[in-house]
């Protein structure tokens, strides 16, 4: 077993807005081992991005506030760290790449300048050293004629190339943990395949751990070792990738898997959508957050929010119902499937 790199306990982030308190992340706990890829899956508003941004305190405050929780990274508690000290970890030992490569690069600085900035800051390199390293990094992420492209501006690169630049920036200080927030969502499938291939290769070469945030269950299946499913600011299921797809325990995960069309489906079957709307995060969570949309809801679901409990080896789920009963109900017939 490899060593635990990141341990998150009871992390809770809220936004205090004019309309009320937004319960973005409601006490989540998980861990990431060294060199491992963990995917966090969820829809928009599930708290997946805020959850990881909170790890390195990238939450605008006000209105945001990390109310509670502990984040231990490589034996060090990050929540107690002074802003100054955290800055040595952020962008250095924990790097982040964002969804939109258009808006996360500075349009008026050359690519070279943007990569060398963090090298000079964190690795105290001088101009020529950092330039040298920047060329190396661009070559590593597969940008042709790297040396000559260093003085180009972001608009001279295509979307896929920009995302490569972002990855090069993320890798510049040899991070132990790379947080990738929907890095391929804005890209075309063939370019997405290139980027996934690249990140996976780099992970193996450099031995870093990855937290990959996405809403695409297809991408997860191909690259993650463990998957965390989030809904309404809660972790509702966590398992190894094979278990999650073969034996989903939570009705939401089950519903997601049944609602997406598959490229390899043999027959054209009717999709089974999840009824209803995503939750309103302004509501104080008191019952199971998925209860209003759940086909298998029982009385208890409305009274108490189920805790995340072990249901099998390496498999956690937060549901009052027993999965075997749910499966029986599913087999018994279409449970209001025609919506």
């Amino acid at each position: 077993m490899s060593k635990t790199l990141l341990k998150v306990r009871d992390l809770e982030t809220k936004f205090f807005t004019q309309d009320g308190v937004v319960h973005a992340v409601n006490g989540i706990s998980y861990h990431v081992d060294e060199g491992e890829t963990v995917a966090i899956v969820g829809e928009s508003g599930s708290g997946k991005s805020v959850g990881v941004m909170s790890l390195i305190r990238l939450i605008a405050s006000p209105p945001g506030k990390i109310v509670n929780g502990s984040v231990v990274f490589d034996g060090q508690e990050l929540m107690d760290l002074a802003e100054e000290d955290l800055r040595h970890i952020r962008g250095n030992r924990i790097a982040m790449i964002f969804q939109d490569p258009m808006t996360s690069l500075n349009p008026v600085l050359t690519i070279g300048r943007q990569i060398t900035e963090s090298l000079e800051l964190h690795m105290s390199m001088n101009r020529s050293q950092s330039r040298e390293r920047a060329i190396e990094l661009l070559e590593l992420v597969g940008i042709p004629a790297a040396a000559s492209r260093l003085d180009d501006y972001p608009h001279q690169f295509s979307g896929g190339m920009r995302q490569r630049v972002m990855i090069a920036m993320g890798l510049s200080c040899n991070p132990q943990l790379l947080i990738a927030d929907e890095p391929t969502t804005a890209l075309d499938v063939t370019i997405q395949a290139q980027i996934i291939d690249l990140v996976d290769r780099l992970r193996k070469e450099l031995g870093m751990a990855i937290i990959w945030i996405t809403h695409d269950l297809g991408v997860v299946a191909g690259m993650a070792e463990r998957v965390i499913v989030m809904y309404s600011g809660f972790i509702i299921e966590a398992a190894t990738v094979n278990d999650l797809y073969a034996q989903p325990h939570h009705p939401y995960t089950l519903g997601l898997l049944r609602s997406i069309p598959r490229l390899d489906e043999a027959h054209r079957e009717r999709l089974v959508p999840i009824d209803g709307l995503p939750p309103d995060l302004l509501d104080e969570p008191s019952h199971c957050p998925f209860a209003p949309r759940c086909e298998f809801v029982i009385e208890k679901c409305w009274q108490e929010n189920p805790p995340l409990e072990t249901v099998a080896d390496d498999h956690l789920s937060a549901c009052w119902r027993d999965i075997s009963e749910i499966r029986l109900e599913l087999d018994a017939g279409p449970a209001g499937g025609a919506a």
Binding site: N242, A246, P261, D275
Partner: protein, 336 residues
Amino acid sequence: MSESANMNGSGEVLLEVRDLKMHFPVTRGILIQRQVGSIRAVDGLDFDLIKGETLGLVGESGCGKSTTGRAILQLHRPTAGSVRFEGVELTETSGPDLRQMRRRMQMIFQDPYASLNPRMTVGSIVGEPLDVHQLGNSKTDRQERVRELLEIVGLNPYFVNRYPHEFSGGQRQRIGVARALAVNPSFIVCDEPISALDVSIQAQVINLLEDLQRELQLTYLFIAHDLSVVRHISDRIAVMYLGKIVELAERTELYENPRHPYTEALLSAVPVPDPVVEAKRQRIILEGDVPNPASPPTGCNFSTRCPKAMDRCFQEEPEFRDVGDGHYAACFLNEE
């Protein structure tokens, strides 16, 4: 291309597109603008739409799939080519005649936030096409029809006086669908109708579109970049690359027996939500990016990225032709 007049071999042809071209001028100069080139967004398309079918149009961003949809509806006037809809040549139709035709063809847009006027109520959004085409005879008729449309798309008719911001993305997309249905069209261009929606909501909208097609005998041109969704909803699929259709076939045939290297690569790049399947799959990783449509490569458009390119591909352009049973492809590899 007369032999391709009826590409499906069966059914009544609703829409016939021949050698459709849509080039946008690139100009230079501020006061005196002169044309220095053109972006060949759509560069010679041939296909038919059979009544009641769904033709999926897939391709990556910038390949011209949305422009194709707009050029068919004459929202962009095509540079060249012919678009015949129910026997009427649309490229030569204008003014009131074209407006008359637009009653038969509607469009659903990608972004449910940008495509609905935030200052109009749902009732006036859905009712506007009725006014434009003078369909609601009396005020009560119009109200009745709007209520009926909201019910058809699964919205509570009680919502007629609400504004778009009071709805979620999926509900807004339903409003867009209701607006398109208002004039009783026979043909709808769906331009990425679900890509802006949450995963759990997408299936709701897909099912709605499928139900409406069955009930109202609609014909869809379904434009999307998500191949899994396109495969699910389409009868036939056309794959576009850099302004051209490179392959067109029945959905299962295209998936099981792709005859163009780009289709193969595209299919292999789509992730499947199943770790066991994913572990076994061989991904074809294409090198580089899509070329600039202002200066497409000579020969085959795909030659610069094609893993199977031969000398010939860089000089000649392969013909888009039938390679058997209504399966069309544009690649020299099919000639042996």
